[in-house]
């Protein structure tokens, strides 16, 4: 769709036909969706755009994560899906991202733990990319890998700026898709990692994860499963919480500061918890985009943590309680741009919260889409030759 370009040039195109591209998961793989270093690079551009205000997301505050359809705990209708504490939902996440990306898009997914029994991933995701001016579809793409890689890459950006360069031991909580991709990002960013520890709930998934990591990263000298959060966190330079969890913080993995190795970075991609005072006294708090958490505060009024299970919502709750000041929560973009200091000592401990935003999907989607076009991948679809009503 190049119509908008023609208009800027002063022409009016008579061709009203709209075509767009469909990319299956296989197409996406060929288009490079799993290229983690490229994805980390793209996500660094995203964090810069966010910091510069060169984006728009939904809602009154322009920072909405998305619009969620949640299910009731009880319902008189037998077919109505029920919320059984298993993170079941549908979510629509629209965003515009500027900078080198400059396009519109939306991620749409449904999530249900019971999918696993059917041999399906817990979430099934698609991303649509659109012309920012006309709204015409440019591409519909399978977004399971897209979403997993961008979700992993954002911790990669943070770790690049926050972790000690000699980081050698890495812990992953949750041996799932996010665990794999956040590990990929950590290993792409920290070349000195030799040891990976993993904690999960089921033996089968732990064994599979350990086998996968050993095979995918033969440079590692030690890959092992651990039983407790304490074993996972102790002696680790980087810990990634990539487990899934519901709305009750008392069920989240709980971390005590005395377990944390000086200099470590704890990444909250999903839920974990710490005592507020303990966290304030020992950790520097960083988020991927502060305005996202402010938007969550509006959507899920205090206490936000739980209703939203990302640790950054605990930061805003702590500011609400007066335990910290809002300015004690650092935006990663401020650190990248040098407006705020990053690591100031080898011993400094960071808690880095990753909320996840549709701008990331649109940005990585754009790069995969451009690759696909260049490589001639995908199925070309026509929307209309001529719109029936205009």
């Amino acid at each position: 769709m190049v119509l908008s370009l023609f208009v800027r040039g002063g022409f009016i195109m008579s061709n009203q036909a709209i075509d767009f591209l469909f990319l299956s998961e296989e197409d996406m793989i060929q288009a490079g969706v799993k290229d983690m270093p490229a994805c980390i690079e793209a996500m660094e551009e995203v964090i810069k755009c966010l910091n510069a205000g060169d984006y728009v997301m939904g809602g009154e505050n322009h920072n909405s994560h998305g619009s969620q359809v949640s299910f009731p705990k009880v319902s008189p209708f037998p077919n109505m899906p029920k919320d059984e504490g298993d993170d079941r939902r549908f979510m629509a996440m629209p965003a515009y991202i500027g900078g080198p990306f400059d396009l519109m898009g939306m991620k749409w997914y449904g999530s249900n733990m019971a999918n696993k029994e059917k041999g399906l991933p817990r979430s099934i995701l698609t991303v649509m990319l659109n012309d920012k001016d006309t709204g015409a579809p440019l591409c519909l793409m399978s977004a399971n890998l897209l979403s997993a890689y961008r979700t992993g890459a954002i911790p990669g950006v943070g770790i690049k700026y926050l972790a000690n360069p000699d980081a050698a031991v890495c812990g992953i909580c949750g041996p799932g898709v996010m665990g794999k991709t956040s590990l990929a990002a950590i290993l792409a960013t920290c070349p000195n990692i030799t040891t990976v520890k993993v904690k999960g709930r089921g033996k089968a998934s732990l064994d599979a994860f350990v086998a996968y990591v050993k095979e995918a990263y033969p440079q590692l000298t030690e890959v092992r499963a651990v039983d407790t959060v304490e074993e996972l966190v102790r002696d680790c330079d980087i810990v990634s919480f990539a487990n899934s969890g519901g709305t009750d913080p008392s069920t989240y993995p709980f971390v005590k500061s005395e377990w944390i190795k000086p200099g470590a970075v704890l990444v909250g991609l999903s839920c974990f918890d710490m005592d507020s005072i303990d966290m304030r006294n020992h950790c520097t708090l960083v988020v991927d985009n502060l305005q996202l958490y402010e938007a969550w505060e509006e959507e899920f009024p205090y206490p936000s943590f739980g209703a939203n299970n990302i640790i950054g919502s605990k930061f805003t709750d702590m500011a609400h309680d007066g335990i910290i000041k809002k300015s004690d929560i650092y935006d990663l973009g401020d650190i990248i741009y040098g407006k705020k200091p990053g690591r100031i000592s080898k011993e400094q401990i960071f808690v880095y919260s990753v909320g996840g935003m549709p701008v990331e999907d649109v940005a990585w989607g754009k790069i995969c889409y451009e690759n696909a076009k260049r490589l001639g991948l995908g199925t070309k679809l026509r929307l209309w030759n001529h719109p029936d009503m205009c």
Partner: protein, 382 residues
Amino acid sequence: MKIDFRYLNEEDMIKAGVLDASRCIETMQETMALFGKKDFLLGGPNADEHGLQMNFPAASDIKDFPLDDGPDRRFMAMPAYIGGKYHIAGQKYYGSNSHNAELGLPRSILMVTLSDVDTGAPIAYMSANLLSAMRTGAMPAMAAKYLANPDARVLSLIGPGVINKCALMCYMKVLPKIDTIKLKGSTVTSKTALHMKQFIEENYPQVKNIIICSTLEEACRDTDVVSEAMSVTKQDMEEFKMKWFRKGTTVFSMGTYFSKEYEQFLNTKMVVDNYGMYEKYMRNFIARGPVDELGRKREWCIMGMHFVHLVNTKQTARETVINLSDIVNGSAEGRTSPEEIVMCGIGGMPLEDLSWGYECYQKAKELGIGTELNLWNEPYMK
């Protein structure tokens, strides 16, 4: 597990019956019945969101940043679940820009995804321009069965664009005595008004008089049914006056209804498609403050919000504003006298896109229409 889904372009949708007014009206009736029984879910913490809107700023220092430079410039994502015989999840997603007209494109370009309720897998991805216009037009026509005088003869289409074209197709199914149609476009020479006139002449020979009105007042006076579906900027909004409407008029507003005579609504029957949705609009409106980013005083211009204002300021009881679904389900009365003026605000919900999208998808499957797409044969990561 392999996942395939069906892609339906606009032509496929036409073949699948998206423009079938009678079936669409029936489907809207069923949709409202399910809404009244609460067999549905919408987005947001209270499950009452119309959708998640993305607006652009009026000005930006950033080069090429999209700007709010015309009426209805936005993107919107509208997720939902609807139960009953549909039992389907999905969402409508669109971008809207009035400058599209310069490119020969519709103002909005819309797509609907239907998703499996349990797995979230896509079932269908469809062009939704006609789908959305039809369901938007079928809602007031369905409501007219309960709210308009059955012998209505004069219909006024204010904003004679795509929505009112579809609404017209639907009104003509339920109001058999219509013989006069008044059109009000942006100007008397507006191309859309002339196109609409031609469309009526070609399709509805029973319509003897087609009047292109020069003022809003002219369009509102001496009429039986008013169908408002305008797209205007705030600066160009013209105020509706209650005194223009004669006794027995039924006014449907799907777009912009600007009025400051709120108390005048108290003498009418007030009906909406979803009261909670307008409450949320009002909360958002109040949260944004009394002036816009350029310091101009802000006014709301959605009919349902006028009703919410009357309830919130205790000028009327909540019960006096009726959800259309309660009328459909028989727990509230529709029109109770030939004289009463009925004001009905219909903002639309993704439930309507899902139910009508589902019907079209079923038809397409039955007729073997569309393109089968494969998401994956086996997911790469589980």
